[in-house]
């Protein structure tokens, strides 16, 4: 089917192309008309030429004859009147069909002698013989008989040396239309010209005939389809070749189109790939810079420019000196540029004066590209967070080690004191034992807090909430510290409502939080001060308060107290041993219970910490809301 339709289409196109040829049928007619026109023009020119020749001839003849007659003696001209005159003889001799008449008139215009061709009436046109110059001449007249134009030549007739009259010779204007004799000549002349037209026409027709036939055939084929192809070998051959040409052209067009489509696709694919690659590189948390073998930037992600604090366009095609102000980095890159054998190198530097912003830069070779040039890949990474974490970690370690070494130091000294001269004084022994006990408690508290913090921070402690009788928990925590408070002369109050609802708590963790708040309230109190542990059962929440009449916390310190290792800045606060971990841990634990821990304090008056716990766990609320 496709080949058939292709064939049909090809044939239709061919038929269309041959249509103009069909129109040339009218060419024959046009050629005949043209040849007739040519003949007419030729005839016109011929007649014109003939007419002017005749005019010339008439004039020459007329003038010559008039002069001849003028020179003849008067007697000779008219003497033999009644006989054949010289004039009539001469005129007859002329044998010119156009010669109309010959007349001799006297000076007054009276006709002396008249010789005419048959049917000719001499026009009576008097000639004035005033001047001798006007005696010879010619004039145009009209025949009074048939109205034909007449050319008249006149000459004077002299008699005895005097002007005696005129001889007038009238010639008819020659007829333009040829006579029968000339007609045959013209016909003979016209015939070959006329014959040329059909000859050309038939020649053209003969040349066109196959095309015409082909057109008809093609049209028939177009309408009937290729099945009707007559077993005409020539036509078949032509059609085959024609189809091959058309097919080849179509194939070529298809090929070009396919190539174009492929080019567009591959172009899109390439740009997609390039775009994707760029998008990936741009999305990297690291800033990527590619240097060519000369050390100039060939590619830089937006992050690189931002990280280095320069405009992106200022980096491209520029050496590092143009976009990097850090001498350390420049030196690092220059070193790598000089010695590529450094496989991959890394440098960490401060990006700003404060030294807070740390950036790590690493450089590694890029494999040789097609061009054979070797580039380098420079990757910048903001390591501020890691740096700060690391610093915080080492600060934490330093702090912890100091906090642990201090009681150890005390323990070592007191124990040595007891060993060396323990018996020396009862008072000293008691003091040493008390101090050792205190320091051990302090260390144990510190170690407990540290372990709990570490577990909380690393997620090693999974909070396990069980419905807990809050009253029992608070009671227990209170009793645990009551003795230590009394020892310090501090009033210790517990104000709990008769009924406290059970709350979903991690008992062990919550106990640590309450314990830390209570022991702080005791520690940062003053002699004869008081500590109150109270609870209120509200509509939505339970509020637990730990109130003291202690040294208080300044507003500036209040903002810091929940931070790790934060200690009050007052001298009263510094006088009390502490690690700055208790409140931090308490806050972490309350947060884990989706509760809030807030502080309200006035320096020198006292402090109140409030724990607010939602009665309905937040998760349940969220589910209900949903």
């Amino acid at each position: 089917m496709p080949s058939e339709s292709r064939c049909r289409r090809g044939l239709a196109a061919a038929a269309r192309r041959l249509e103009p040829v069909m129109k040339s049928e009218r060419l024959g007619l046009r050629m005949i008309v043209a040849s007739l026109l040519v003949i007419a023009v030729i005839f016109g020119i011929l007649l014109e030429r003939q007419a002017s020749a005749a005019n010339e001839r008439v004039r020459a003849q007329g003038v010559a004859l008039a002069r001849t007659l003028s020179s003849v003696s008067y007697e000779q001209l008219i003497a033999n009147a009644g006989k054949t005159s010289l004039l009539s003889a001469l005129l007859n001799l002329q044998a010119n069909p156009d010669l109309g008449y010959g007349v001799v008139v006297d000076a007054a215009g009276k006709v002396l002698l008249e010789v005419t061709s048959p049917g000719t009436i001499v026009p009576s046109a008097p000639l004035a013989a005033r001047e001798p110059e006007a005696w010879f001449g010619e004039r145009a007249l009209v025949s009074p008989g048939d109205g034909r134009a007449i050319r008249e030549f006149h000459a004077p007739v002299l008699h005895n040396g005097h002007h005696a009259g005129f001889v007038r010779l009238g010639y008819y204007k020659p007829r333009l239309l040829p006579g029968p004799a000339q007609a045959s000549f013209y016909a003979l002349l016209a015939l070959p010209i006329f014959l040329l037209a059909p000859i050309f026409y038939f020649l053209i027709r003969r040349e066109m005939k196959p095309l015409g036939a082909l057109t008809e055939r093609l049209e028939a084929l177009v309408q009937a389809g290729p099945h009707e192809l007559a077993p005409n070998a020539e036509l078949r051959d032509f059609i085959d070749r024609f189809n091959r040409v058309v097919g080849h052209a179509e194939d070529r067009v298809r090929q070009v189109e396919a190539e174009q489509r492929a080019a567009v696709t591959s172009n899109r694919l390439l740009s997609y790939r390039a775009g994707k690659l760029d998008a990936v590189l741009q999305a990297l948390p690291e800033a990527v810079v590619v240097l060519d073998d000369a050390g100039s930037v060939t590619y830089a992600t937006a992050k690189a420019a931002a990280l280095l604090g320069v405009a992106e366009q200022d980096m491209l095609r520029q050496p590092p000196q143009a976009w990097c102000r850090n001498p350390q980095v420049l030196e690092f890159l220059a070193r790598y540029q000089n010695d590529r054998s450094l496989d991959a190198d890394r440098l960490e530097f401060c990006a700003d004066e404060s030294g807070e912003r740390r950036i790590a830069v690493s450089v590694s070779p890029l494999p040789a590209t097609v061009s054979g040039l070797q580039g380098s890949l420079v990757v910048f990474r903001d390591v501020t967070a890691e740096y700060l974490a690391q610093r915080a970690g080492s600060e934490f370690a330093a702090h912890v080690s100091h906090e642990l070494k201090t009681p150890l130091n005390t323990l070592a000294m007191y124990s040595e004191l007891l060993l060396n001269d323990g018996a020396a004084s009862e008072e000293l022994r008691i003091e040493a034992a008390n101090t050792i006990a205190d320091e051990v408690r302090r260390m144990a508290a510190l170690i407990n807090n540290l372990l709990n913090i570490s577990k909380l921070e690393t997620g090693a402690i999974a909070i396990e909430r069980h419905r807990t009788k809050l009253r029992d928990l608070l009671d227990d925590a209170f009793e645990n510290l009551a003795q230590s408070a009394r020892d310090k002369g501090i009033e210790f109050h517990l104000q709990l409502p008769p009924h406290l609802p059970a709350v979903a708590l991690d008992k062990d963790l919550f106990r640590i939080a309450i314990n830390n708040l209570l022991s702080n309230a005791i520690k940062y109190n003053r002699p004869q001060g008081s500590v109150t542990l109270a609870a209120e059962d509200g509509d939505d929440e339970i509020v637990i308060r730990v109130r003291d009449t202690g040294i208080g916390i300044s507003a500036a310190d209040q903002a810091q107290i929940f931070r790790k290792f934060s200690r009050g800045s007052s001298s009263e606060s510094a006088a009390r041993s502490g690690h700055g971990l208790g409140l931090y841990l308490a806050k972490e634990i309350i947060d884990l219970h989706q509760g809030t821990l807030s502080v309200d304090s006035e320096p020198g008056v006292g402090t109140e910490f409030s724990i607010r716990l939602q009665k309905t766990p937040v998760l349940v609320k969220e589910m209900m809301a949903a």
Binding site: T406, N409, T410, A412, M413, Y414, E416, N420, L428, T435
Partner: protein, 129 residues
């Protein structure tokens, strides 16, 4: 009577050292941080200064550096209490003249021996000189 100045923010340390040193016949003065110590030294230089490092507001390191600037020709020995692991601290201690360190946790007996050795060396030198 040799005068010893103890600088530490831990009252227990001062308490025990004072006990031990006084029993050995030294006169003991104490300060809880560098600032306090510096004003005491300005009032009268001790024979030996024993100081902790981690104190506020003025640390032991700041105290030693201030002393070095203010009293470059001081004759008293400075003993800085550091632990073996604090390498950074030991480095700056080594760079200061007449400044040495004593190990933490502190042994009062070792400290007494050290002081005795120091003073005997001093008396030998002065006897020779």
């Amino acid at each position: 009577m040799k005068r010893i100045l103890i600088v530490d923010d831990q009252p227990h340390v001062i308490r025990v050292l004072r006990l031990c040193l006084e029993r050995d016949g030294y006169t003991v003065a104490s300060a809880s941080d560098g600032t306090e110590a510096l004003s005491l030294i300005r009032a009268g230089a001790p024979d030996v200064l024993i100081t902790d490092i981690q104190m506020a507001p003025m640390s032991g390191r700041e105290l030693c550096q201030a002393l070095h600037l203010e009293f470059p020709k001081r004759e008293f020995l400075t003993l800085v209490m550091t632990s073996m692991t604090a390498r950074e601290e030991r480095d700056w201690v080594r760079q200061l003249p007449a400044t040495e360190f004593v190990e933490k946790p502190l042994s009062p007996r070792a400290l007494l021996e050290r002081l005795a050795r120091h003073f005997s060396t001093l008396s030998e030198e002065s006897a020779r000189g």
